[in-house]
Subunit: 315 residues, 2 copies
């Protein structure tokens, strides 16, 4: 089976499917749109994930760009919905990748440094669970009534020494994103070039049938523009997030299947890491012709399946 | 004298200066950092600007990327500081360019359409002075305490018809920039592809000695990312802002000198329009060696002068 060929699984013979199933021993599974939608499992996904583990002996990991929950919280949700992941270690998420990344920086000193978060409270919870102090997460931060930005700037930026202990600016999805937050991030990144600049993911827009709302990449584009620095992506499709598993020998990309619902993020991630890919149609790509329309612009999956649950009959 | 050669005026002979002065009959002058700093004229600038007009007979225009004041307000400031510009028509500013641009769109109907402004109140004042309705300018717009973005989204975006009459999203510098504003702009631009998307300027960061704060391009980068559309720049260095003057025959680029303090914006503008350029050192480039360091990356001026006032002895 050729890579990136976008073959529908139902077009394969029994022998070909069997051969394909034997070509990987590790499975990375995306969350939203692939195995669940928020707090509801997608029909058949629980059975397939559990069968891949228990019947076929595959090692299954959940890999998500969701930075709104900690690893522990994602693990609890997966158990609650019926997914039998063996442990929290089988959740790969941006909040975990951020903690891992900071922990590996030799100059990072938990006793002295703190992290400024433009994002939600889960990032602070994950950092705190690993002994890292942060500020800003989950809080509104805007000009007080009648306050001018000049007052804000004088109050906030009057002491250049204050940013020396800020070891990183972390950006995630933030319903309270504001000029004040952007200005603070810009000031830290410009005044302290040794600070890290991390972003949970680069999903720029979330498209619902009735409307579009800005995703995390929209905030980070603004902060990148004003700080004249580039953020490091702590989620798919950046291969960086798999480094710990690859280094420990727990994962071999050439023997790994990535399952997801997004060409750019999930199939792009498989392509960047040298993994097999399976695109499911329970997200944006509800039919194969929509996938093929993107052929020129976006990476193509090896295999396409309308729903992950459809795999059950082949297991 | 070769174009883009960055020659200091004091290195030229009397004849060469005289020849240079005769090579243009129109002068475009930047505001902040060139002839004034906020509400204070830079030493010698008033005398030079007035002498260029009255003694040498040049037509002088003030061209600024300042979207925080209307044309009328900028004209009043120039008069108050002593600059003898003949009329308001000699002010070229983003707010004027926006009004001109909208007025030229055949599908734009003042009676029916309105404009959504992420920016300050001056944009609304300029639009109103030309009979154009707008909303959003100069106002804070954030989540109410305890309100979730889902509530905001349902309330704001529940009626797709509501954006049909929004003919343009205009973005300027906004100390109240927020997630709600970005989401509203994103929703309009995505739901109504015929809406215009205009930005006063693309200054990404304002650098003060003690700190850096985000400029307009930081907001627009975020909105461009989530709307997957590109904004049209209504300020320097986009040649579009000179179109009305060129079309009317009032300005011939090859006979025009652009004076400014910024390589990227002012000298870049001169270069984009085919005009002569004079860089002054009263902004970021306080010496010629700083200019020459940027030689690889940024356009170079024809002539460099530490202060515009230094020109007086040559007039």
């Amino acid at each position: 089976m050729s890579r990136g060929g976008a073959i529908t699984l139902s077009d394969l013979s029994r022998e070909q499917v069997s051969e394909w199933l034997q070509s990987f021993d590790t499975v990375l599974c995306d969350g939203d749109g692939t195995i669940w939608q928020d707090d509801t499992a997608i029909e058949g996904a629980v059975e397939v994930v559990n069968a891949l583990q228990q019947r076929l002996g595959k090692r299954v990991y959940l890999i998500t760009n969701n930075g709104l929950k900690t690893r522990q919280e994602l693990f609890e949700r997966s158990r609650r919905l019926g997914f039998q992941l063996p442990s929290e270690q089988h959740i790969i998420s941006p909040t975990t990748a951020i903690v891992d990344y900071l922990g590996q920086r030799t100059e990072f000193d938990k006793a002295r440094h703190q992290v400024y978060v433009v994002g939600n409270a889960a990032i602070a919870r994950e950092l705190k669970a690993h002994g890292i102090d942060s500020y800003g997460a989950g809080e509104p931060d805007e000009l007080a009534p009648g306050e001018k930005w000049q007052d804000f700037a004088a109050r906030e930026f009057g002491n250049p020494e204050a940013v020396k202990d800020v070891a990183a600016v972390v950006v995630g999805w933030d319903e309270y994103f504001s000029y004040c937050k952007m200005a603070r991030a810009c000031n830290i990144l410009c005044s302290n070039p040794s600070s890290a600049f991390l972003v949970t993911n680069r999903d720029a827009v979330h498209k619902y049938p009735a409307f579009c709302i800005p995703g995390t990449a929209a905030f980070v584009s603004g902060i990148e523009a004003c700080s004249e620095r580039e953020a490091l992506e702590m989620g798919k499709p950046n291969p960086l997030v798999l480094e710990p598993l690859i280094k420990s020998g727990a994962l071999r990309p050439e023997r790994t299947l990535m399952i997801g619902d997004c060409l750019k993020i999930d199939v792009g991630f498989a392509s960047n890491c040298g993994m097999l890919s399976l695109l499911v149609g329970t997200g944006r790509y509800s039919n194969l012709s929509a996938v093929l329309q993107e052929k020129e612009k976006l990476p193509q999956p090896d295999v396409y399946l309308p729903r992950l649950g459809d795999l059950l009959t082949h297991l």
